[in-house]
């Protein structure tokens, strides 16, 4: 174990050193290839121009290589693989897509994903907004925000263990040690095996993601609320609006853009949700979602790259509108620069 720590530290240093060396060395080589002689002004300016043409690509090179190899190429390759059989060797046309439409588990996953998409972003944004408004009004608000924000640092797997303990069920006359069942028992109900309760178990899994992500929504919406110009509120106060009206008719419309950003960010996260379902139920009891089904098919029976590629493409198709919208926004901002 000690040797692993030593080698890890060594590799970190070596890796950083190699990276830095690349940028330093490539810059030096560039200067040698295109020298800037003091006596020859014309040659100097030509070479300076050449340096300026090459240098951006030296700086961008490693980043572009990583992006192309790990993201651009795989997107194209996955698309192509979706038309091939399980080993990726034989062309099968639309067979994988036909399979997906008829597969009960795939339909279940689509249904569950839609359920997640309908509940989680809305719940996170709503709770985030409410908490942001409330905590901005009290002196210990920052402490409260810290505590609510904290689950963001916890891994989905860790959060799953935390919540599995809350949902814990013990049969027979044993004492209920799960908080939820203890509460249910205390108010006179009978304990349940929450995570295998059909349909409703989805909501018990969603609660975990809401618990993690509400802090994110709260932080961003809180900053947006503070950015609202005060005159708009003052004008409303003078016109005799009450707190409720000011919140819904003056404040919320002004942060609409930020609400959209929070909503879409959480939507993307929900589409990729994997760890929570894997650790809580592994897709049993009708809780399967697309990301887990895709992972399942990657390795099931030696792996079926065609079918899992189709499932990945469905997730990709769902995020594409958001992607196009983001690129448009970025272009608009660039134009304003």
């Amino acid at each position: 174990m000690i040797s692993q720590i030593v080698s890890a530290v060594g590799v970190v240093i070596a890796g950083v050193f190699v990276c830095a060396l690349y940028y330093w060395l490539s810059d030096k080589i560039l200067q040698i290839i295109f020298p800037v002689p003091v006596e020859n002004v014309r040659a100097a300016s030509v070479n300076l121009n050449r340096r300026a043409m090459v240098r951006p690509w030296l700086f961008l090179g490693p980043a572009l290589i990583l992006l192309v190899v790990y993201l651009v190429y795989p997107v194209v390759a996955t698309f192509i693989l979706s038309f091939y059989d399980r080993s990726g060797g034989n062309f099968v046309g639309l067979a994988n897509y036909r399979w997906a439409i008829q597969d009960a588990q795939f339909r279940q996953s689509i249904f569950n994903n839609i359920l997640w998409l309908a509940v989680v972003p809305a719940a996170c944004t709503f709770f985030g907004l409410v908490i942001a408004v409330l905590t901005d009004r009290i002196w210990w608000g920052n402490l409260a925000k810290s505590l609510i924000f904290m689950p963001m640092a916890i891994s989905f797997v860790g959060a799953s263990v935390i919540w599995k303990f809350i949902y814990e069920y013990r049969g027979g006359s044993e004492t209920q040690i799960g908080l939820l069942n203890a509460i249910v028992q205390a108010i006179g109900g009978s304990p349940q095996v929450w995570i295998s309760l059909p349909f409703w178990n989805n909501f018990f899994l969603m609660a975990i993601l809401i618990w993690i992500q509400t802090g994110f929504a709260m932080v961003i919406l809180s900053a947006a609320l503070r950015g609202i110009p005060e005159e708009t509120i003052e004008a409303a106060v003078i016109d005799g609006a009450n707190g409720w009206q000011i919140f819904w008719k003056i404040m919320v419309p002004q942060i609409w853009g930020t609400i959209a950003v929070v909503w879409t960010t959480i939507t993307i996260l929900v589409l990729k949700v994997f760890d929570i379902v894997l650790t809580m139920t592994n897709g049993q009891w009708n809780t399967m979602v697309l990301a887990n089904l895709m992972f399942d098919w990657m390795f099931r029976g030696g792996g079926d790259s065609g079918r899992s590629a189709v499932i990945a493409l469905v997730i990709m198709a769902a995020v594409t509108p958001i992607m196009i919208w983001n690129i448009r926004q970025a272009n608009k901002e660039m134009g304003g620069h």
Binding site: P56, L134, T135, A153, S155, V219, L225, A312
Partner: protein, 385 residues
């Protein structure tokens, strides 16, 4: 003065706000508190009572055997056996007792219970008992069932167990080996790229920025199958293992790259133009400008992104499962915890201690560097705001 502050003048009664925020905080904190408390309890106590009773002591059901008939002495017409139910065992406070396993709390402690057959039994809180009968005792010593309150006790034994015998210690080192290089390498690469995209003029710049923005949201799932095939082919071709730390560092670096470039470009392109141009006039090369001016000035943005990347790589399960494998000595903490959930389901003393070890590092990072984290989130989400 903010808008919210002026809403306050109109606002709801203050007390309601305080109470509701307090309630929300408690709801948000209780799940984590539950596993923290449980991880310090003994296995027996965890299953005997909910963790919320840990500080008041737990009631455990246990059994004891009363003295043999031969120890009976005669008192008048009755035969009496007396002693303590705690003989040879640990102490505690008896809350209740019974003679049938189905009803261990039939009689409260100190009560003289008529248990039929002309027998009377009294078990006191301190464990001493008096067992009398109007005829001589026969057979073996009688079995009684007790509800014993044990004082709250906490132990660090669970942590010792998981760190040494459950492989969590090894996984902790693995997680560090994955997360630290996978945080530092992409920052360096992304910073250079962000500088080029902010302060250098070249054809195709706008296209690359659009590509980067687009790639931010591409789901990881799209990359897994082709990359897994590619890694296997490279492994076969060179005769090296296809799953290695170098492989996962590069994968994490690449997956974090779009967001890194985007965040850093937002920050670096906002630096004052005069500083960079005056350095150029002084004859500094772009490399020098970057190292001596841009890097130090961008510290807040670099810190923000490194926190994101560290949390993401430390907490990741999917990339590690695919690119590092699921062998026992390859597991990172999240993978180890997932494996324990399968093999140790219900053994909460193991699970809670392991879970707490996996979340303690990110929580420390979170509370220590929260300022930078918030700043990074805002830079990524409310641009111009």
């Amino acid at each position: 003065m903010s808008a919210v502050a002026s809403l306050r003048r109109v606002g709801l009664p203050r007390l309601i706000v305080h109470v509701s925020v307090l309630v929300i905080c408690i709801i948000w904190l209780i799940p984590t508190l539950g596993i923290l408390v449980t991880s310090f309890r003994e296995a027996g106590q965890i299953t005997a009572s909910g963790w919320w009773t840990a500080f008041t002591g737990a009631a455990e059901t246990s059994a004891a055997r009363l003295g043999e008939p031969s120890t009976a002495r005669q008192e008048g017409a009755n035969y009496v056996i007396s002693g303590s139910v705690f003989e040879g065992g640990k102490g505690g406070t008896v809350r209740a007792f019974g003679t049938r396993v189905a009803a261990p709390t039939e009689f409260t402690a100190g009560q003289a219970a008529d248990i039929g057959n002309g027998e009377t039994l009294t078990v006191n809180e301190d464990g001493s008992y008096t067992y009398s009968k109007n005829a001589p005792f026969e057979g073996r010593g009688k079995r009684v069932y007790l509800s014993v309150a044990t004082p709250p006790s906490f132990t660090t034994e669970n942590y010792r167990t998981v760190l040494t015998s459950q492989g969590i210690g090894q996984s902790f080192v693995n997680s560090l080996t994955v997360a630290v290089p996978a945080t530092i390498i992409p920052i360096l690469i992304a910073a250079f790229a962000a500088y080029a995209l902010s302060w250098m003029e070249f054809p195709g710049r706008a296209l690359i920025i659009a590509l980067v923005v687009g790639l931010i949201v591409v789901p990881l799932q799209m990359s897994l199958i082709p990359l897994l095939k590619m890694y296997n082919e490279i492994g076969n071709f060179f005769g090296v293992p296809s799953r290695s730390y170098a492989g996962i560092w590069l994968a994490h670096s690449a997956f974090g790259m779009p967001l890194a470039i985007y965040l850093l470009r937002n920050y670096i392109s906002g630096l004052p133009r005069e500083i960079i141009e005056s350095a150029r006039v002084d004859g500094a090369s772009d490399f020098e400008i970057f190292v001596k001016i841009i890097l130090p000035l961008s510290f807040p943005a670099l810190a923000s992104f490194s926190i994101f990347q560290f949390l993401w790589t430390w907490n990741d399960l999917l990339v590690a499962m695919v690119f590092l494998g699921t062998g026992k000595d390859q597991l990172v903490l999240t993978g180890a915890l997932n494996a324990l959930l399968g093999s140790m389901g219900g053994k909460w003393e193991i699970l809670t201690a392991s879970a707490f070890i996996t979340i303690v590092v990110p929580i420390i990072v979170f509370f220590a560097l929260q300022r930078y984290l918030v700043r990074g989130l805002l830079a990524g989400s409310v641009k111009g705001g």
